[in-house]
Symmetry: C2
Subunit: 332 residues, 2 copies
């Protein structure tokens, strides 16, 4: 096994976010579930929702893409695999992830459909409610995987969101096989409670079969995965089957269970939660970057909390401040 | 003369801004003049600069477009005329200005060139340095003017930036004629010192011929216009020929000379200047909205200062906070 060229290689949705403010009443009236991600399936549906949306800002997103962008910002070496179209938003996505220092080699897909967009409504409490129009992103074929990149990444990181469309699901299964064959670790984020309800059996099988080394979830997700309302029971059930389990709990901080030991970190105090988009993605970035630097689970959790706190203090899911400096100031 | 349906109708560049952080050294090394706007003329030039840019966020911009968007946010009735292409960034621009409450009826232009972009580098002091690739925006033809909209706007507002390309220049001359014929007022912003150096004779002729009722400038611009280093001399020379002159002076606030009387307002205190993009545009919006509400020059200046302070406290040139509420809290 050669020394890995990347700390983390991710396969994920390649999305440009459109963020706008919205009142809680708007979320209710349009039938959205606040805090969740729902998929849009037709251009007419996406256009109708966009027409109701206030003035927006666009920023590159995608869950795993946000994570690897932040890992690069923390000094880690990361790569990304995801499908954009050959259009203006695709150029924006490709530019931003490369400018963040991430290796991105997946070729843009010609013609329709267009690059994925996510319409994100941010309520006054900073909570984000997402409506994703996957378009080109759902056509990532297994043949587009950069096999060499996956084999040379210490960790392959996968997002549960990408389990929805068929082609990328097959690509991720192939990615897992490639990584395991190369003796690498596989990390997975459960992404969203609704997403789990669509793929619970698959996700549990991945865990039961020992395909995953590191699992990220939030409280709602781990409860949904194990179909229980007992947090400790869900954590125990999963922790026994995974080398490292990380569960974020919003303002209650996060826990990790690694090698049978349990670690906890409080949430970072911040002045004002502006937009929670990317909080989980950045927590995963901090934790994985910490592990890549050889830090223990406790310090890796702290790095996750620092990175998450930065990203919720402004609009958009990629870091704006120098998060590496923030970590250095705290942990040296 | 019928009662105006719009408080302000603007003709301006239809641009999507791409904003990224940059160090001062980058501005120097790339040969930019900090704080100015420079035009890019080839796709190769634009691509090369974009490749050097850090991760960005996209937000609708355009000087006069920012102004009318903020006028709508202040409760005014505004319209916009400007040229986008039939592409994704054109959709973003059209969506955002309409979502802001502005009437926008200019049809998108099919095919190449694409919608205008402005690459904006924001240095740690919050100053913005702009590189504009006008593309579709420079092809606004006089035939695209919404004559009825112009005739029914109490004020026609024009941006000096749009004087650069030939077709929109002709369109603006036609717009001025339409507005004057309908008995409306014409307001003009000088936009940028470099822009003035390219069009000084034209701009002075517009003033000398009495084509303009309201003129907006910053300190550098009015000095450039009158080719002097004596601020008071420049102000006196222009004020004698214009019903209302407004000059912004960054942290020294702003002055207005209206009907021979002079008014001044200090800059609003703000915690941190994040990004000065749109400061002048929002000052103009506040002043014009105040005038439309029948307020005097003093209160109109205060509205300008409040709107400008809001927009420099975050990235992007359109208001994020409820600026109408901020004005109401101060002025009732």
């Amino acid at each position: 096994m050669t020394s890995p060229a990347y700390d983390v290689v991710a396969i994920g949705n390649a999305i440009v976010d459109v963020l706008a403010q919205a009142e809680d009443a708007f979320i209710t009236e349009t039938g959205m579930t606040k805090g969740s991600m729902q998929l849009m399936f037709s251009p007419a549906e996406a256009d109708a929702l966009y027409a109701k949306m206030g003035p927006g800002i666009e920023a590159s997103g995608g869950s795993a893409a946000n994570t690897v962008a932040a890992i690069a910002a923390l000094g880690g070496r990361s790569g990304f695999i995801g499908q954009v179209a050959d259009d203006q938003l695709g150029e924006v996505f490709a530019h931003d992830i490369r400018a963040a220092g991430v290796t991105f080699t997946t070729a843009a897909r010609a013609g329709e459909p267009t690059t994925a967009r996510c319409l994100i409504f941010v309520t006054p409490d900073g909570q984000r409610t997402m409506n994703t129009f996957l378009r080109a992103s759902q056509f990532l074929p297994a043949s587009a995987l950069d096999n060499e990149m996956i084999a040379s990444g210490a960790i392959l990181y996968l997002e549960g969101y990408l389990w929805d469309p068929e082609e990328p699901r097959a690509a991720m299964r192939k990615g897992i096989a490639l990584a395991r064959e190369a003796g690498r670790k596989v990390a997975f984020t459960l992404s969203d409670a609704f997403c789990i309800s669509r793929h619970r059996a698959d996700f549990r099988r991945l865990i039961d079969e020992g395909q995953l080394d590191i699992l990220f979830a939030n409280e709602a997700e781990i409860l949904s995965l194990m179909e229980t309302e007992d947090f400790e029971a869900a954590v125990s059930a999963v922790a026994g089957k995974i080398e490292t389990l990380v569960v974020t709990r919003s303002e209650q901080g996060a826990i990790a269970i690694q090698g049978g030991r349990r670690y906890a970190v409080p949430a970072e105090p911040i002045d004002k939660v502006v937009d929670t988009t990317g909080a989980g993605d950045l927590f995963a970035a901090g934790f994985l970057a910490g592990q890549a630097q050889g830090r223990g689970a406790q310090d890796s959790l702290t790095m996750g909390a620092i990175a998450a706190a930065e990203v919720i203090s402004h609009y958009g899911a990629r870091p704006e401040a120098d998060i590496a400096a923030l970590v250095k100031a705290r942990l040296g």
